[in-house]
């Protein structure tokens, strides 16, 4: 029964979404309040219907209902409960259902919290949200129905791909979808603004929190994905510039740009057209990512099982949504009026530079991702574009961006003083020099880029702290007064500082782990020792063991530093039975200064085992930095200006009291 309930709810959701997409648009055109209000009720019903569908599929998975084809293909009765649940979205059909559910959830959130939105804007936003829902529901029902039955029902399922049976990956897709779908809200706002023909600061105040939330979720989603690659694939790499990784990275880059340009719209009422375009492009990249992953156009290790019918549907959907919205932009945007003027050296100017660099970086990633398809289409040659292309095009754009991050917040709006800003960054420049000296003195010789990376880290970290200390006048007025300034500072200001420090941490992690990694690959016999990165790894042997739904070879290393035992590392090589597949579980001992990373492999037949040992300095900071960036975003999001009903609860204290900008 549950599968039929789910199926019925999806059909219901489709019809409601169709009405939600049409009725409010008509209402807004005729200025008919009751037709416009229909949008809110429809989004509630759509949310409830998709919730029922999602619960129905979850019930089918948890109870191992093997009369449902999707459960047979992706689950197994012996699978641990966590992966029975994560199996719901660990496949094409279920992940789309999750997508549709989040879409309905966010639409409902706009309806519920948007009481202070102008009536016609709200109606139009929800209508666009409804139309996106129609597209996805049609896709689910016609090409990817998760509730399809199978008769006769088999006794057991085929199991979930073992690579996906992992806590990191269980939560990677939901976070990514929260991000992708969060961008659908900013998209709907952009389209609604184009239809209305006006953008005001109130519009930006609504767009920015949604962008922030989407950006935060994308940050966590991408970080989880790279962390998974780091410990599960067993080669110590964490980013491969794989098409599917790029597909999630491009919306993040554009969302980062949008986050910053929306500030300019909000504070200075300018850059409106550009911000609208970014909002459209950000969601377009979310859709493009979906297309690339599911259509079979690109070959990737991450790709879902592909089906040409799905590819055709998604491409048609992309053309309607992206082509349609960009065309609307081309026709309506020229009529929008720009706002205040500003000098090139100003906060606005710095944010424009940020946007230029970020969008150029996105363009290079897009080029590298699509180039193999282009070349194949034009000349029939098969190539793959690898890390060398991306490193040599992305880095020259990332370096000036990181330098500018420290400068931008120090410039005032309208007209700034670059010399003044730079003189306040003396301490940052000094720390950059010091850290270059230290790394040259302490560490082994490395390429010049490594020292540049360390300098960038120090520059951005100290630069952000200097700006933050300036705001609270640290050490220039008594500490108690600084403390009260600190408490009065808007949360978005703290959020910005935190997020920028997070970027600095990521720069440190990438630079140090790439430049000063040491490794040793080779066969080791029990009792043998090797020294890697100043740590002595003693191989104590390996044994065959049995896990819940796999057999595994467990190797054992004891690690010493200067003769003292540091840790026992027990990497595993697993062989799953359903479906049959081998996976590597690296053993990692993360420390703030470095990760110790060990992998055990096949026996060589003479009592030795293939082993890989890495010492990766500061690599944890990549993920710590990502979390700090997310916390920064969350801080910003909790700013009172964005809170529900903040306008009504506003006290006598004027908002303009704080002349500072947020992230």
């Amino acid at each position: 029964m549950t599968a039929e309930i789910g199926q019925f709810s999806l059909v219901l959701a489709l019809f409601v979404a169709l009405l939600q997409g049409i009725v409010p648009l008509v209402g807004a055109y005729r200025q008919n309040a009751s037709l416009m209000n229909f949008a809110s009720s429809a989004s509630l019903v759509q949310f409830l219907a998709t919730t029922v569908a999602f619960i129905a599929l979850t019930v089918a998975y948890v109870s191992s209902d093997f009369s449902v084809l999707n459960v047979v293909k992706n689950s197994h009765s012996l699978k641990p409960m966590l992966y029975k649940i994560s199996g719901v979205w660990g496949n094409h059909e279920g992940s789309l259902l999750l997508w549709v559910w989040i879409l309905a959830l966010f639409g409902f959130a706009v309806a519920a919290f948007g009481r202070n939105l102008p009536g016609s804007l709200k109606a139009r936003v929800l209508a666009i949200q409804g139309l996106i829902g129609v597209g996805f529901l049609l896709f689910v029902l016609f090409t990817s129905n998760p509730f399809e039955r199978i008769d006769p029902a088999p006794f057991d399922g085929k199991g979930l791909n073992p690579l996906l049976q992992d806590p990191g990956l269980a939560f990677h897709p939901p976070f990514l979808y929260l991000g992708y779908v969060g961008l659908s809200i900013t998209f709907s706002f952009a389209i609604a603004a184009l239809i209305e023909g006006k953008v005001d600061p109130a519009w930006a105040r609504w767009v920015r929190p949604w962008t922030l939330a989407a950006w935060g979720f994308l940050t966590i989603g991408i970080a989880l994905g790279s962390w998974w690659a780091y410990y599960e694939l067993g080669w110590g790499g964490w980013w491969f510039w794989d098409p599917v990784e790029n597909a999630s990275f491009m919306p993040w880059l554009v969302a980062t740009a949008l986050l910053h340009s929306a500030i300019v719209v909000e504070k200075r009422d300018t850059l409106k057209n550009w911000t609208i375009l970014l909002a459209i492009i950000a969601f377009s990249f979310s859709l493009l990512g979906t297309f690339l992953v599911r259509s079979g156009v690109l070959n990737s290790v991450h790709a879902f099982a592909t089906d040409p019918a799905r590819g055709v549907f998604i491409l048609g959907f992309l053309i309607v949504v992206i082509g349609g919205s960009l065309l609307l932009y081309g026709l309506r945007a020229p009529a929008m009026k720009g706002g205040g003027l500003f000098a090139p050296i100003s906060r606005e100017g710095a944010l424009v530079l940020n946007n230029l660099l970020l969008s150029t970086a996105t363009a290079t990633v897009l080029l590298g991702t699509l180039y193999p398809i282009f070349l194949d289409a034009v000349s029939g040659a098969k190539v793959s574009v690898g890390p060398p292309f991306f490193n040599s095009t992305f880095l020259p754009l990332a370096i000036p961006l990181v330098i500018a991050i420290a400068v931008g917040p120090l410039l005032p709006w309208k007209r700034g003083d670059l010399k003044g800003a730079l003189s306040r960054l003396k301490l940052a420049a000094f720390s950059a020099l010091v850290i270059m000296g230290i790394s040259w003195w302490l560490a082994e010789e490395a390429p010049i880029l490594a020292y540049a990376g360390m300098a960038l880290f120090a520059w951005l970290l100290v630069g952000s702290l200097v700006e933050w200390a300036d705001r609270i006048k640290l050490f220039r007025i008594p500490l108690a007064k600084s403390w009260s300034r600190l408490k009065n500072l808007p949360r978005s200001a703290h959020g910005m500082t935190l997020a920028h420090i997070g970027v600095a941490m990521v720069v440190l992690g990438i630079t140090a782990s790439e430049a000063w990694q040491s490794e040793r690959l080779g066969v080791m016999r029990p009792g043998e020792s090797v020294t890697v990165g100043g740590y002595e790894f003693r191989f104590d042997g390996a044994e065959e063991l049995k896990g819940p739904n796999y057999d595994y070879l467990q190797g054992s290393f004891t690690v010493f530093k200067d003769g003292d035992e540091v840790v026992q590392l027990t990497p595993e090589q697993r062989v799953y039975t359903t479906p049959p597949m081998e996976t590597t579980e690296a053993a990692i001992w993360p420390m703030l200064s470095a990760d110790l990373y060990a992998v055990v492999g096949e026996e060589d037949g003479k009592g030795g085992f293939a082993t890989r040992i890495y010492h990766k300095p500061f690599i944890s900071w990549i993920w710590i930095g990502s979390i700090v960036m997310f916390i920064g975003g969350a801080f910003s999001l909790s700013d009172r200006r964005f809170r529900v009903g903040a306008a009504r609860k506003k006290k006598a204290m004027p908002v303009a009291q704080s002349p500072v900008a947020g992230v």
Partner: protein, 177 residues
């Protein structure tokens, strides 16, 4: 000025056109083998326990067209093409050799025992070294070997009905006449 605002939609039109072309006419999985029309690399392998004599280069130079099928007991897609191989070997139209890729000897023997053995000879490529020399990219793959041991063609993934009709059968019949 107005045209500038249309630049994004025009750029997207180009991207969409290329993707449509890729979707309908290209297949990213089809990677041409560097080795097609080159002689088979030298190798000599022990058989899967109890399944036929071992396999070496001389066997694929037997003066007639043969198939070299890369398989493994852990490979799900191999089960898909397995009936096709059984059918081919029963008909006696072509000799099929099995290259057992990165497998455990017991597991491979059990697998052949359970599903049937279409191979006249098998070789165990335990560490995948021979596979690398052949440019094996995934399992299953099937190499069509010429009478003198040159690689005529390579089928990636399970052998489909179409592969059988257009790539395998014409060549076998061609060699008989």
């Amino acid at each position: 000025m107005r045209l500038g605002f249309l630049a994004p939609v025009l750029t997207f039109a180009v991207i969409a056109a290329v993707m449509a072309y890729a979707l309908f006419f290209l297949n990213p999985k089809e990677i041409p083998s560097e080795l097609v029309s080159k002689p088979a690399p030298e190798f000599k392998l022990d058989p899967v326990p109890d399944y036929g004599p071992g396999l070496e280069t001389a066997h694929v130079k037997g003066g007639k067209i043969t198939l070299l099928n890369v398989f493994a007991s852990w490979c799900v897609a191999c089960m898909v093409e397995h009936p096709t191989l059984m059918e081919l070997s029963k008909g006696g139209k072509v000799e099929i050799f099995g290259l057992n890729y990165k497998d455990k000897p017991d597991a491979a023997a059990k697998w052949l025992g359970k599903h049937g053995d279409p191979y006249s000879r098998t070789g165990m490529d335990l560490n995948g070294r021979v596979g690398i020399n052949f440019g094996v990219y995934g399992v299953p793959e099937t190499f069509i070997m010429g009478p003198d041991g040159t690689i005529i063609d390579k089928i990636i993934g399970p052998i489909t009905e179409k592969d059988l009709k257009t790539r395998i059968l014409p060549r076998i019949q061609g060699s008989d006449s």
